[in-house]
Symmetry: C2
Subunit: 369 residues, 2 copies
């Protein structure tokens, strides 16, 4: 775990933050950077990336286009990404030119479910039982080891439930393997959790650490539907969740915001489900319920600025606006809460189009109060 | 007072809001529009306008350049401005092409101190005593009428104390008149106020109205130093201040956010000092202390969207970062509060470079709580 000394020179206002990825997370990162007086340069392989609309400059090119990446690095003062499917080689390349965080190692671990689970289990943290299942034979052995029901997941490029198949019995295995079309896979024991939670935390280049209160997350069809803060967690569980995030961040030499998704079992254990090496949908509530959002916190971390206080001043419920629900934008704008729309020109089934956060009174300590 | 029917068709997400003026107010309006999924087009006569950095598109041209204004109107779906020194003829011109608000009449009244004071006094509201003082002879008569001490102010283009001279005795008049270099002027009786306050309110095209809690404002060298909410006002005074804003907005057929600056006298009277037909520095605290800021509220109003609840969930103190103070950005980033820097490349004495808002606990009703 080495600390890049370059990070100790904070990027001054007027300089440029480069962001790989032009979706809503890149867009909200760009808006947060702007608030701090920083310029932004979005790099995306989509011609019509929503984040282009709010960035100072943008580049439309592939994530493995070396020449475009070099040009991008040349005009940026610090670089980050909004999604974990950026090639880790790209981050490694950019990181040789300018501070690029989170680092390639963190990205690699989070990109590959087997490496991720192995890393987490190696830290002595609880996860669902898991095993490699790259072909039918390996999957059979894995299922015997783990027990049913289980879930077969592609090891890479999975999000919002894509590349997953439930395995109830041995007979489901051939179909499940076939559905992944030869992609390397991992079999995970199905966890009959009480609820899902996540913790958003940030680590600075100087080793500083700040965690938000965990949220309780509800998914529908594998897509986040709602995050609620506070979650139904005790103070001890909250500290455990934040401690898990801290350990992971420290062991990865992580700089930036990360999200650790957790299963909370009926007996109160916290199982690590996955690590997202980026700002996360389950942290959007921080935009209104905290003086500093996850987006600003991430920009602060990767720009070498001091982390801000993650204290929450209100309770919050964040609901996603998904697919066709976005047609009701006017009704949503009329019924209270903080509305966010992501500037996506096309509505598609399951596509995250926006979100709404409702605040309510929190008792207890208040920022600066 | 006619309501433009065009305003009843709300501008949908993905469409473009045109903003005249590219300073920090235009920048924060653009960021608020982006949150709602709207594109932005900034029009400024400054080549390096800070708002260009966050806008989808921009035009660099003069405010009286008819061809550029027509091109601008053609690609915008609703138009507004960030500062009151835009020529009212420009707004009238744009308003013939697309909904442009606040309207030219409101702008004219706010641009000219004598027209403004006459309008306010005509509504039966209290102001400092005032009279025209375009030349030395008129100023002498005015001073006799009003009494000393008084302040001679240019009628147009004044802000942050520019174009003002204090008149203690008759002997000060020639120098004061000379300092205005022949600009038409108004003489106002000096008000020995207890403190200054302002109320930020919004009116929609459908006649809806929403006012924020008034702030208490401290100026130093004619520049806003600090706004504090709540102000030292009784509930009755708060309602009076909000009522003043409502009456003014209704009589002007106003659409958008306006600010009414008030003097609060030692015996508790509210004197209208001036109207700003735009979002205002004394409302920046709404970014963190309310679920919907003045910037989003303004975009909602001029885009024909429903107004949001202006409820405040926290107390707030907003401090400006002025001129050389911006060099301390790193220290400011370290000491709590929500930091905003405006992306201005050059520090100049008296220039508003950013602000910081500190929140603290408010007891009482809470948004959606």
């Amino acid at each position: 775990m080495t600390i890049d000394r370059a990070l100790h020179r904070p990027v001054p206002p007027g300089n440029t933050i480069g962001i790989l990825g032009g979706g809503q997370l890149g867009r909200m990162l760009a808006l947060a950077a702007a608030r701090l007086g920083l310029k932004t340069h979005i790099y995306s392989d989509e011609a019509d990336a929503p984040a282009f609309q709010v960035a100072t400059t943008h580049t439309h090119a592939a994530y493995d286009d070396g020449a475009s990446l070099c040009d991008f690095a040349a005009v940026c003062d610090a670089i980050t990404f909004e999604f974990e499917n950026v090639p880790s080689a790209t981050i490694a390349l950019l990181g040789r030119e300018k501070p690029a965080n989170p680092n390639a190692r963190a990205l690699e671990v989070a990109q590959e479910r087997y490496a991720e689970k192995t890393f987490i289990a190696g830290l002595g943290m609880k996860t669902a039982a898991f095993a490699r299942a790259d072909d039918l034979e390996e999957a059979r052995v894995a299922l015997e080891l783990i027990g049913a029901p289980a879930i077969l997941k592609s090891r890479r490029l999975g999000y919002d439930g894509k590349g997953q198949a439930r395995v109830g019995t041995l007979d489901d295995l051939p179909g499940a393997i076939a559905s992944l079309k030869g992609a390397p896979a991992i079999l995970e024991r199905f966890v009959d959790f009480a609820f899902e939670a996540s913790v958003i935390a940030a680590r600075g280049g100087d080793g500083s650490f700040a965690a938000y209160d965990p949220s309780e997350n509800l998914h529908a069809r594998h897509i986040l539907r709602r995050s609620t803060v506070p979650a139904r967690l005790s103070e001890v569980q909250i500290r455990e969740a934040q401690g898990i995030a801290r350990t992971i961040a420290e062991l990865l030499g992580y700089v930036g915001v990360l999200c650790v998704e957790l299963f909370v079992t009926k007996d109160g254990a916290l199982l690590v489900n996955e690590i997202a090496p980026r700002v996360h949908n389950s942290g959007h509530w921080t935009l209104e319920a905290c003086a500093t959002s996850q987006f600003e916190q991430h920009i602060r971390a990767i720009a070498g600025w001091p982390l801000a206080d993650p204290l929450r001043h209100s309770n919050a419920i964040m609901e996603n606006i998904i697919g066709e629900e976005a047609r009701d934008w006017l009704a949503r704008a009329s019924c209270g809460g903080a509305l966010h729309l992501y500037g996506k020109s096309e509505i598609r089934a399951g596509r995250k189009m926006g979100h709404v956060t409702q605040l309510s009174l929190k008792s207890g300590r208040h920022p600066d109060g």
